[in-house]
């Protein structure tokens, strides 16, 4: 039997119940549209929330941990190998706080093809001087340009240009929380005291707003060289090397490798932020479950309509069979009807889903915590469209399959005799 004729028969049956068919198709349309917009919105939100932390977190961080050495001299002595020693309250020695040979490590990392970029950093404990009161704080000396490229530093700087950190000497970008406490405005000169007792005057060129209040109350940023100056160290002094890699899933393995090769401490993003993955996954699973439930409900709609159609078209089915159409032909016809409803509904749904996404994307969403975000986030990933449509078609196929099977087993004699 030719495909064209199957279509022709299916079409006329479909048009004979055009209203119900339309209702069934609209059911599919809406579930596909909701599926797409729901998942797009949820994923947009996920990446926004994850991005809050993950975007500015290095994939691998190299640092030197201050800790007592693993071996005491007596452990190395052959004579006392089998003996027990009672050394307790071991303290770290005056260990270096920076990374040994940091510049060489940085140039090695820059040559590594798996690495997108490297940003060195120093951290200085300071007190912000506020009249007689001193506020605890941390000043990060950063490689400003790398920081902007790798960790979107620019997005978190408000009320100023982040490049002023390089262009002006002794400039600082103040954490917004700190600034509020100090009533500091752009252009003001503030004073900080370092742990060594040194006092420095720094010019405020902007403010840092991360969206995490705890951070903003403590952290400020200066250029790497200013940071080293605060610490009273030379330009070789680097306390952190932050690495962004091409494939984030490789981060744990690479951290291990660096730990071994460079003999320093390394921490990967997965270990540092395990909880984010879990949250995102839970949200995704919930959205998929809701979306797929919607599609299954739409499938029941189609199932109902087809059952009704078969009941009303028993005469037609009887004639088809009496004139030589096999049960399998009848089945195909009804499956085609069901799939047409499904595919038509799914295509319209994809379009409607896109429109819904555009609407959500246009709704204003202003949060002090998220300076770069002005509307609700939406992910327009093609995968949601394909999953929704694929699932819609599969659902309608099965929704059509059972009624079609029923239609294929209609006994024409019963129908013809019944008249």
């Amino acid at each position: 039997m030719k495909v064209k004729h199957i279509y022709e028969i299916a079409k006329s049956l479909l048009l004979a119940r055009s209203r119900q068919s339309l209702v069934a198709a609209i059911g599919v349309t809406f579930s596909v549209a909701f599926f797409i917009s729901l998942l797009g919105f949820m994923e947009g939100l996920n990446s926004l929330l994850d991005g809050l932390v993950l975007n500015r977190t290095p994939h691998v961080r190299l640092y030197t941990e201050i800790r007592p050495s693993d071996f005491q001299p007596i452990d190395l002595s052959k004579t006392y190998q089998k003996q027990h020693n009672f050394i307790s309250s071991v303290k770290p020695t005056n260990a270096r706080k920076d990374i040994y040979n940091a510049l060489a490590i940085i140039s090695t990392l820059k040559a590594d093809t798996r690495v997108i970029g490297v940003a060195p950093k120093v951290t200085a404990q300071v007190f912000y001087n506020l009249g007689n009161i001193e506020l605890n704080g941390v000043i990060n000396g950063i490689d400003v340009l790398q920081e902007a490229i790798l960790f979107n530093f620019k997005d978190y700087v408000i009320g100023g240009d982040f490049k002023d950190l390089i262009n002006r000497s002794n400039s600082i970008i103040l954490g917004i929380g700190v600034a509020e406490k100090m009533l500091a405005k752009k252009g003001d000169i503030i004073t900080v005291t370092t742990l060594n007792g040194g006092q420095f005057s720094l010019k405020v060129v902007g403010f840092y707003q991360s969206g995490i209040a705890e951070l903003d109350k403590v952290h400020s940023f200066v250029s790497l060289s200013t940071g080293q100056k605060l610490l009273g160290e030379s330009s070789n002094f680097i306390s952190d090397i932050q690495i962004k890699v091409k494939d984030m899933s490789q981060a744990p393995a690479m951290a291990n490798e660096y730990r071994r090769v460079f003999g320093i401490d390394a921490e990967d993003i997965q270990t540092a932020n395990a909880q984010f993955e879990t949250g995102s996954r839970a949200r995704s699973i919930i959205s998929y479950a809701v979306g797929i439930t919607l599609l299954i409900v739409a499938g029941f709609g189609i199932y109902n309509i087809l059952n009704m159609m078969i009941y009303e078209k028993l005469d037609t089915i009887a004639i088809l069979k009496a004139t030589g159409f096999a049960g399998s032909d009848v089945k195909i016809i009804f499956i085609v009807i069901s799939l047409s409803i499904g595919i038509g509904g799914a295509l319209a749904g994809a379009l409607l889903g896109f429109i819904f996404s555009l609407i959500i994307d246009a709704i204003p969403f202003n949060s002090a915590a998220l300076p770069t975000v002005t509307t609700y986030p939406v992910n327009y990933g093609l995968q949601y469209y394909s999953i929704a449509m694929l699932f819609a078609v599969v659902t309608t196929y099965f929704a059509g399959w059972f009624p079609a099977k029923k239609a294929s087993s209609v006994d024409p004699v019963e129908i013809i005799r019944g008249k």
């Binding site: 039997m1 030719k2 049956l13």
Partner: protein, 225 residues
């Protein structure tokens, strides 16, 4: 060729179990040759329709053997029987049973859709020629529900002829027609037999109709007299 039987039935038994076992057909044996115009008559409820459904291969729940065009039908699969119905048997019902969703022409073409022996154009041409022969070519583009009962019956006959069947089976084809339309249908059948050497088997209550056929098979209580 002349005497090659189009249809042979041997010892057809059929019972219904509703609720007790009732034998409706009790050993029906007969054969119809090619080119014969044959009618089956008998009292209402004697089992004529039941027999016709078996002969047309739609009802497979019977005992005995059925040959169509010298081919054994008994125990063939549903798919094979559908194929035989499509190729070799034309069926006309008492109630016209056209598909209301289609035009008259499409209704006639319908069995041709299944066989795919002809192209769409050939099929359309053939259907139109058949309608013309039956004098209703003017209706070809009308929808099936827009034509009268007598016209519907003629459309149904055209439909049954579209695949050049070996045998035409009709269950009271003139049951709801007036005498003029009955006459028209009879003339069509006669023409099909004489001009095209078709075999026709008609179940009818109409004595005037059956008297004019080549042979009358009379049934009583599930047997042939």
């Amino acid at each position: 060729m002349e005497n090659k039987p189009s249809l042979v039935a041997t010892g057809i038994y059929k019972s219904f179990y509703d609720p007790a076992k009732v034998d409706i057909l009790k050993g029906i044996s007969f054969s119809i040759n090619r080119g014969e115009f044959c009618s089956i008559t008998g009292k209402s409820g004697c089992g004529k329709s039941t027999l016709l459904y078996i002969l047309s291969t739609m009802d497979t729940d019977y005992k005995g053997e059925l040959f169509i065009d010298s081919e054994l039908m008994t125990n063939k699969s549903e798919k094979e029987l559908a194929f035989v119905r499509n190729e070799k048997i034309g069926f006309v019902f008492q109630f016209h049973y056209l598909l209301n969703e289609f035009s008259v022409l499409k209704n006639v073409m319908l069995p041709g859709f299944k066989s795919s022996k002809h192209t769409e154009e050939e099929l359309e041409h053939k259907a139109y020629e058949l309608l013309k022969k039956l004098g209703i070519e003017k209706l070809s583009s009308k929808m099936a529900y827009q034509v009268s009962g007598g016209e519907k019956q003629r459309v149904a006959i055209a439909r049954s002829m579209i695949n050049d069947p070996v045998i035409l089976m009709c269950d009271e084809p003139t049951g709801n027609l007036d005498s003029k339309n009955t006459e028209i249908v009879f003339e069509i059948f006669k023409e099909l037999v004489h001009a095209f050497n078709k075999t026709i088997l008609v179940v009818t209550h109409d004595e005037n109709f059956s008297k004019k056929t080549h042979r009358i098979i009379t049934m009583r209580d599930g047997s042939i007299m």
